[in-house]
């Protein structure tokens, strides 16, 4: 992965807030993802990571704040922007009654890829899914389905990728392979990734920057190295626990 450049952000989130009946799930969150950057969004359960990602996917409407992708407002250019980004999340499976080949072809069509059969073939090969290509998705293991979900996230060669725990169900060697593949493919497009994970080693491996959320607020936004210096810890997991335990501390 290339070092983040100083060019304008692929994703700019400004004062993003989401309230549900008096409960604030996301509270004035701001961060950026620049071209070539992998930004990890970390936080304990209920910190607001999934709500933030769902707002970026237009599944949830923000109460206030701005989301700009490629310099354009997501509200005003929804379809255009969604066609240039993609996502993978464990709570959003691909249709169990299709085969991986069919599902990748269908999603290539939904993302406007004209040569959808060829695109499906390429992705099956890239993600080592050829042997499973004509099996029903419902019969694949959760790890295989997850790998397929990440393959689906590349149907449109996105310039912005949102990955919500993309390696959660994978064994360590497969997770490593998948991480390498994601970084390789996104590197080709010069795009950026917003990545969530509870695997701190993974976060440290892939991230240029880490945004720590707690109780809906950004508690820290820095490189892994700087965060370690600031918190006086060698281990990201210790920083995670410190921030999660002290949610009302002022942001760093």
């Amino acid at each position: 992965m290339t070092v983040a450049s100083m060019t304008s952000a692929l994703l700019r989130v400004t004062n993003l807030t989401k309230r549900y009946n008096g409960f604030t799930a996301v509270n004035g969150v701001s961060f950026e993802v620049k071209p070539g950057e992998v930004v990890s969004l970390l936080g304990p359960n209920g910190a607001g990571k999934t709500t933030t990602i769902q707002m970026l996917l237009t599944l949830v409407a923000p109460t206030s704040g701005e989301i700009e992708i490629f310099g354009k407002s997501l509200v005003e250019h929804r379809e255009e922007l969604l066609s240039m980004m993609n996502f993978s999340a464990p709570y959003s499976l691909l249709p169990y009654n299709l085969t991986p080949r069919e599902a990748l072809a269908v999603f290539s069509m939904l993302y406007g890829v004209r040569d959808y059969r060829q695109r499906a073939r390429v992705l099956l090969e890239e993600f080592d899914l050829e042997e499973l290509a004509d099996r029903k998705i419902g019969k694949l293991s959760s790890g295989e389905q997850m790998r397929l979900g990440v393959a689906k996230a590349f149907v449109n060669s996105p310039r912005l990728l949102l990955l919500d725990e993309p390696t959660a169900s994978l064994d360590p060697p497969t997770a490593r392979q998948l991480r390498a593949k994601v970084l390789e493919l996104i590197g080709k497009t010069g795009g950026g990734v917003l990545w969530t994970s509870h695997n701190m080693r993974e976060v440290e491996t892939v991230s240029n920057r880490i945004v720590f959320l707690s109780r809906g607020r950004v508690m820290a936004d820095d490189t892994p190295q700087n965060l370690k210096k600031r918190f006086g810890q060698d281990d990201l997991e210790e920083i995670f626990i410190t921030i999660a335990r002290e949610p009302l501390r002022e942001p760093v």
Binding site: Y20, T50, T51, Q54, L57, T58, L59, V60, A61, R78, E79, E80, L82, S83, F87, A89, Y91, S92, L93, L94, P95, Y96, N97, F107, L110, Y111, G112, K152
Partner: protein, 266 residues
């Protein structure tokens, strides 16, 4: 036998029914609607018996059944196409894709057309084989009614999608219940003259009432039911517009209140 095991199964299901408006609706709604339906059918049969009017029951009832099946199928195929995405937990992928709502609906309409045509040819062939009922004998007059039936089915399909978006996967029962709810009030198997005067006025807003009245006019008088086709078409246009407004409103609410993500969690 362990009483607690039985109680556990009982409790789990009671909680499910108690918390789900659509399930409660299904519990009491079906029987209520069936009561209306059979009540009106009985009234009609009684009227005919008293007036001694010769009626071709087979033709009327079977033709009504064929056309009602078509309506039921067009609504259900539409609703189930969307439910299929919910059941397979793929719905988030769709709503987070660049696919516009209108494009999604149009895709479902195309699926609906294919399914409706297949089902129509199947059911009319079966009716011919079993009862020598040839719906094609009714002529080209039936085509506008046929088209209106499909369109109203799709409009209700759009409403079904809106309800599933609002109430979650547990509202799937509505996909099957909504057409049934309209059945007694659409005068499918009997003329509207059976209804009390107030109900006759109220049911005027149902496109299906005009379609089935029109169907009976074609069968019994052999003339084109201009008035019925006119009102069915006008009301259909209104229903399609209202159905889309309803879906947009439900979707907007779902985005504000976070119901979309709940579609894969319920």
């Amino acid at each position: 036998m362990n009483r607690l095991h039985v109680l556990g199964i009982f409790y789990r299901n009671i909680v499910l029914i108690r918390r789900s408006v659509p399930k409660l609706f299904g519990l009491f709604g079906f029987v209520t609607v069936a009561l209306f339906l059979w009540g009106f059918i009985t009234l009609w049969v009684q009227t005919i018996a008293e007036t001694d009017v010769s009626v071709d029951f087979v033709l009327l009832i079977l033709s009504a059944f064929v056309f009602w099946s078509l309506f039921d199928l067009s609504q259900r195929s539409f609703g189930v196409s969307f439910l299929e995405e919910v059941w397979s937990r793929n719905v988030i992928n769709l709503f987070a894709s660049p696919v516009k709502l209108g494009e999604m609906v149009l895709g479902f309409v195309l699926v609906g057309i294919v399914q409706a045509l297949l089902a129509f040819f199947y059911i009319t062939s079966l009716a011919f084989l079993l009862y020598t009922l040839n719906v094609w004998d009714l002529g080209l007059y039936m085509i506008p009614l046929f088209v209106n039936i499909l369109i109203f089915g799709w409009a209700l399909g759009v409403v079904t999608i809106g309800l599933v978006v609002r109430f979650g996967p547990s509202a799937d029962i509505l996909a099957f219940f909504i057409p049934f709810m309209l059945l007694p009030f659409s005068a499918v198997y009997y003329p509207i003259s059976i209804f009390p005067p107030l109900l006759q006025r109220i049911t005027f807003i149902l496109p299906t009432r005009h379609m089935f009245e029109g169907m009976r006019t074609v069968i019994t008088e052999g003339v084109f039911p201009l008035s019925n086709v006119f009102w069915a078409s006008i009301l259909n246009v209104v229903c399609v517009i209202l159905a889309f407004l309803f879906l947009y409103w439900m979707l907007r609410q779902a985005r504000v209140k976070g119901y979309l993500s709940r579609l894969v969690q319920d």
